[in-house]
């Protein structure tokens, strides 16, 4: 079966700095992949390129068989709005800082794009939004504004908002990094539930190693714009091969050694 995501020799530079260097990476349909690594290693950039928030300079990128380049050879960021629209219709993203729209209620945040972009009927969109809110445990908050919610609640709304667009690929960019420790668990609980959806492909950038081990099919360790090591999580964490991986894991697991309250299931 064709991979749903395929990076082929992608190079991404910010000025003189090369963030991704001849990067090759494939993700299968329905696969749950966790990207870990030190900051600046390029893992968030992979997600941002997939979401068309960043251009890349060289190489090819395909999502579900559609190239980010237009057939006439124009680059991914000179592509027309229609082409970008087509690419983005496959992908959704959850951000570190939630980025809910502060001037809209929770319900409106979720309903806005399905109505405006997918041309869904408002009643239908609202009933689906209500369903999604129930799934993330926030049925009672639909008429609240984002500023009235805790960080964990905001992030759960952001997940519901992304799901409302029915993406095939859902990207999580450090979804719990901006949260107070006691709020991490409720967000991880929602992501864990999503990981059971067979058709949904998930890419997750996180520093929560135990969680990565628990939910992902594959863990990729990034360093300096390349994937240094990857594998099935149990093998990856118990028996890392590369010295760089061992070094990183011991530094980060040293902090996260004890079982964390946050990893318990959200209510």
């Amino acid at each position: 079966m064709n991979p749903i995501i395929r990076f082929q020799n992608v190079t991404k530079r910010f000025g003189a700095l090369t963030v991704l260097d001849n990067f090759n990476f494939e993700v299968q349909r329905g696969e749950k992949v966790t990207l870990i690594g030190p900051s600046g290693s390029g893992k968030s950039t992979v997600l941002r390129i997939l979401m068309t928030l960043e251009p890349f300079q060289e190489g090819l990128l395909e999502i579900d068989g559609t190239s980010y380049h237009e057939p006439n050879g124009r680059g991914p960021f000179k592509a027309s709005e229609q082409h970008l629209h087509k690419i983005r219709s496959n992908v959704g993203m959850v951000f570190q800082s939630f980025n809910l729209f502060p001037h809209m209620t929770v319900l409106r945040n979720i309903v806005e794009a399905p109505v405006a972009v997918l041309k869904m009927k408002r009643e239908e969109a609202e009933s689906r939004a209500t369903e999604l809110l129930r799934m993330v445990g926030l049925s009672d908050k639909k008429d609240h504004f984002p500023s009235q919610l805790s960080g964990g609640q905001q992030q759960r709304v952001a997940i519901a908002r992304a799901l409302a667009m029915r993406p095939r690929v859902l990207l999580f960019d450090e979804p719990t990094s901006a949260l107070d420790p006691q709020l991490v668990g409720e967000v991880l609980g929602v992501i864990r539930d999503l990981a059971h959806e067979h058709d949904l492909t998930m890419l997750l950038v996180t520093h929560e190693m135990r969680f990565a081990r628990e939910v992902s099919d594959r863990v990729c360790f990034f360093d300096k714009g390349r994937i240094v090591e990857q594998g099935e999580p149990n093998r990856f964490f118990s028996n890392p091969q590369q010295p760089r991986t061992r070094e990183f894991l011991s530094s980060i697991l040293g902090e996260q050694g004890a079982p964390r309250e946050s990893l318990k299931r959200a209510p």
Partner: protein, 230 residues
């Protein structure tokens, strides 16, 4: 005698009271000019600000050049230009429209900078979230950016309203009969300038004060996080 009202120059007070109704007609013109000019400035300013952000360099540079030119040349010069030069190109507008247009153009250059700052102040994450939800550029502006920038720009836009109101007397130089124009005519006929001119100044004061108060009320009434347009 103007507009059917005769003046009584026996004492300053009776003079002032007798010309008040005449100046009232001028006040109406002043308010109309400010209203039309401000409406032009609000709409055209937004259009200019958005065009200036266009990805097409030819458009953004042209608009930037136009804005800077209008901002950096005197209103009076622009007014004369529109009044005396446009007819050479076959465009003949009534004096009032020319005046309101000049005010609107000048202030649209100012308001476009306010809008530009307002757009720039919307956090990057908002744009990214909107992009991730596949909203088109038009929808991002309409549903996300403009609603959030409104509360931020109301104070600055309000200042320009007051400032424009105070500049409307310039229109009298192109024969618009606003308050100043009428006061001037009364002066020419009665050889009494002190009372009519003072009166014009006195009428402006409460107007601008009321304007500032209204803006303050609007500012307070708007939710800080923004107002959905639909």
């Amino acid at each position: 005698m103007m507009y059917g009202y005769a003046w009584d120059t026996s004492t300053p007070l009776t003079f002032a009271l007798s010309i008040l109704p005449i100046l009232g007609f001028g006040l109406l013109v002043t308010l109309q000019a400010a209203a039309v000019g401000y409406a032009i400035a609000l709409v055209l300013g937004l259009v200019l600000a958005l065009l200036r952000r266009s990805r097409i360099k030819a458009i953004s540079w042209t608009v930037a050049g136009f804005t800077e030119f209008v901002r950096d040349t005197p209103l009076l010069v622009q007014l004369f230009f529109l009044y005396y030069v446009l007819p050479d190109f076959g465009i003949v507008l009534p004096a009032f429209m020319t005046g309101a247009l000049a005010l609107g153009l000048q202030y649209s250059a100012y308001t476009s900078e306010v809008y530009r700052a307002g757009i720039g102040a919307v956090p990057r994450g908002q744009w990214e979230a909107a992009t991730a939800l596949n909203l088109s550029r038009l929808l991002v502006y309409r549903d996300i950016v403009v609603p959030q920038m409104i509360p931020r720009i109301v104070p600055a836009l309000g200042n320009y309203l007051v400032s424009m109101l105070k500049e409307t007397p310039v229109l009298s130089v192109v024969t618009v009969l606003d308050m100043l124009g009428l006061a001037n005519m009364i002066g020419e006929r009665t050889f009494e300038y002190l009372v009519p001119l003072s009166l014009v100044g006195l009428i402006f004061l409460p107007m601008t004060l009321i304007c500032s108060a209204l803006i303050y009320l609007v500012e307070r009434a708007l939710p800080k996080s923004g107002i959905p347009l639909r």
